[in-house]
């Protein structure tokens, strides 16, 4: 790894083909919420194999994710995806389910495991247990603060991967409520959940993806990157599984440029970056739970800019 790793998420081969990944060091392949997502890498092994090859051809690391909450009937497919990932030379797998972590540990001991945000890492003792099961990095549960994250990383001796931009996962379900209503709409599954669907009530808003709920506001840590770097964090994610290729490419470039400046000792943020972020944001920005406050709040100097997005 270089001075830092900036990665992003891609659900299928079409998205991969259309995305400019030049800002990134690594990519997670697969959609963690739904087996029916259009040509989900985790269900199309031919696409997964090609996807891993395409990512590696660009000089990036190819990681394969796995389902957030796989029931027994999904485990055979998870098994095949893990076998495909290993055979195709994937650089790591992301696991949100501790049963899947156990599968990787027992059957693919050479494969690095990245513990995902739905695995519920809240404590250093928890991360330590997962490290004993082969975890080499962890995404903390989204509910915990940066102060807690630092303590976990230090205590467990494995690095944290932090989401720095994009819609933050808020929940996962086994049930897609969109299917109840799709007869009213022209779009149907499996493309319906790719529309920009928001659940709103008053000033509340959440992005719905059918079997998952994401924050309505985009988590944005652009102005807080110096704090993250100073705390020793070096692995950052732009969450973009349900975003456009333009979002993935342009937001990624904003963060790559900013991280390079921060690591070079320059903490200024290019004002054009805020305009770009605003173009890609539907209902504003937030900082999630990183500062120990309500997840939809934005903390920092750019409160007005965040609200205006």
């Amino acid at each position: 790894m270089g001075a830092f790793e900036l990665n992003t998420t891609l659900s299928n081969l079409r998205d991969l083909r259309q995305s400019d990944l030049s800002a990134y060091d690594a990519v997670y392949l697969g959609n963690i919420y739904c087996r029916l997502f259009e040509d989900n890498f985790l269900e199309r092994m031919d696409h997964l194999k090609e996807g891993i090859a395409r990512v590696k051809e660009q000089g990036l690391r190819a990681y394969v994710t796995s389902y957030a909450a796989p029931r027994n009937d999904a485990l055979p497919k998870v098994q095949i995806a893990l076998e495909t990932a290993a055979a195709a030379g994937a650089d790591g797998v992301e696991v949100h389910n501790l049963g899947v972590l156990r599968m990787v540990h027992e059957q693919f001991p050479a494969m690095p495991s990245h513990v995902g945000g739905f695995a519920n890492v809240y404590t250093d003792a928890g991360a330590q247990v997962l490290k004993e099961y082969g975890a080499v990095r962890f995404t903390p549960n989204y509910e915990i603060s940066l102060e807690e994250v630092e303590g976990i990383a230090r205590g467990a001796g494995i690095p944290a991967e932090l989401q720095v931009h994009g819609k933050m996962p808020l929940g996962v379900s086994d049930y897609c409520f969109l299917l109840e209503y799709e007869q009213h709409w022209p779009e149907k599954c499996p493309v319906l959940c790719q529309k920009q669907l928001f659940l709103k009530q008053g000033d509340w808003a959440m992005r719905s993806v059918g079997k998952g709920v994401l924050s309505g506001r985009d988590l944005c840590m652009l102005e807080h990157l110096p704090t993250l770097v100073e705390a020793g964090h070096r692995i950052f994610r732009i969450e973009a599984a349900y975003e456009t290729p333009a979002y993935r490419g342009q937001i990624g470039q904003v963060y790559r440029d900013a991280l390079e400046r921060v690591l070079g000792g320059d903490a200024t943020v290019d004002e054009r970056a805020w305009a770009l972020i605003g173009e890609h944001t539907a209902v504003g920005l937030c900082n999630g739970f990183y500062f120990g406050r309500t997840g939809s709040e934005y903390v920092g100097k750019r409160v007005e800019a965040a609200a205006a997005c």
Binding site: A68, A69, P70, R71, N72, A74, L75, N97, L98, G99, V100, L101, R102, M103, F118, N120, Y122, T123, D124, A125, G126, Q128, V129, L130, Y133, N141, Y142, E143, I144, E148, G151, I152, G155, M168, L170, G171, V172, S173, D174, Y175, F177, Y181, H184, K195, Q196, L197, F198, L199, K200, Q201, W204, M206, S208, V213, S215, F289, R293, T294, G295, S296
Partner: protein
């Protein structure tokens, strides 16, 4: 033996659950379980609860199933020293690190993986078994077919929720509530509370039950969206669960009034006893039980609706920020 496990949010409820036929009771240690502190017990009350339960021949489990902070683990272990010394029969837990530490310190204590652990497949069960858990609470989406495979293949006790909420999201994997409101406070004993986060021990504002509108960008697609969140009672599946040999039928509801919880516990006690007492070749008629359950359900629904309105209103209140 099949165990009927009842909730208790206060000492009066402990006594009522014992009197109503529970085989075991669970209580939350104040600040450390998945309910607001009003429905949890102080250490002194917990000591008394163990005494009441044991005097009635009933086991008592302590729920310490928050996703706590790393810095709170030593305090948890100190509390567990007390609870174990007082005779607690088990602990209900979620955090894998806390489970591993408690198991190392108290290897003979029965550990139950909480609903918050969100165990959804047999590999999950094996993982938790490996860190010291001997009983797991099945998630509310578990089918009887999955249950049968779990019973057959794994050396672990399965607990089935027979009165609980079936949320839209998986329990333990949802933070919609604190996304909308999170209030950090400290209780009289120095425990950090996270009001708004059920995973961290605070209350759940039930924001999923809001009357949502669905938009595609700025265009309104549906004016009323109801995300599923049903409070359920198992009835039709109870005979099958007993026949499958499940270890424990668990009732949730620490937040409900004592008489309502007592009536739920008594209902299930009598149902289980009646089913187990009937000759194997005889059919079991659920119709009279269904009728009786309807009255209980009506009262539960009324209480729940009122509580949901209170919580949604509370979720809209500004958060007083700590200095």
């Amino acid at each position: 033996m099949l165990e009927l496990l009842a909730p208790a949010g206060n000492l009066e409820m402990v006594k009522a659950a014992v009197d109503s036929g529970a085989n075991a009771i669970y209580v939350g240690a104040r600040g450390w379980s998945r309910r607001r502190d009003a429905y949890e017990l102080s250490d002194e009350q917990l000591h008394d609860a163990i005494g009441i339960a044991h005097a009635g021949g009933v086991k008592l489990r302590v729920a310490v199933n928050t996703n706590m902070q790393s810095c709170e683990l030593p305090t948890l272990l100190q509390k567990m020293e007390k609870f174990v010394a007082w005779g607690a029969d088990g602990a209900i837990m979620t955090d894998v690190g806390a489970i591993a530490q408690v198991h190392r310190r108290f290897p003979h204590l029965v550990l139950h993986a909480s609903i918050g652990a969100n165990i959804v497949n047999n590999q999950d069960v094996a993982f938790y078994r490996s860190i010291g858990v001997s009983q797991v609470v099945a998630d509310t989406k578990l089918t009887l077919r999955e249950l049968a495979s779990r019973q057959a293949g794994l050396d672990v006790g399965i607990e089935i929720l027979i009165h609980a909420n079936n949320c839209y999201t998986y329990l333990g994997k949802c933070w919609m509530s604190p996304y909308h409101r999170l209030e950090r406070t400290t209780d009289d004993f120095g425990k950090d509370l996270f009001r708004g986060s059920p995973n961290r021990g605070g209350l759940d504002y039930r924001v999923c039950l809001e009357d949502w509108e669905l938009y595609d960008g700025s265009a309104l697609l549906e004016p009323h969206i109801a995300l599923k969140n049903d409070a359920f009672f198992y009835l039709d599946d109870i005979p099958a669960l007993i026949d499958l040999g499940v270890h424990c039928l668990k009732i949730q509801g620490r937040e409900y009034p004592v008489p309502l919880v007592a009536s739920i516990v008594r209902f299930y006690r009598e149902l289980i006893d009646a089913y187990q007492a009937k000759p194997a070749e005889e059919a079991f008629d659920l119709a009279p039980w269904r009728l009786r359950l309807e009255a209980i359900r009506a009262e539960r629904d009324s209480r729940r609706s009122n509580m949901t309105l209170v919580l949604l209103n509370e979720a809209r209140q500004p958060v007083p920020h700590r200095a």
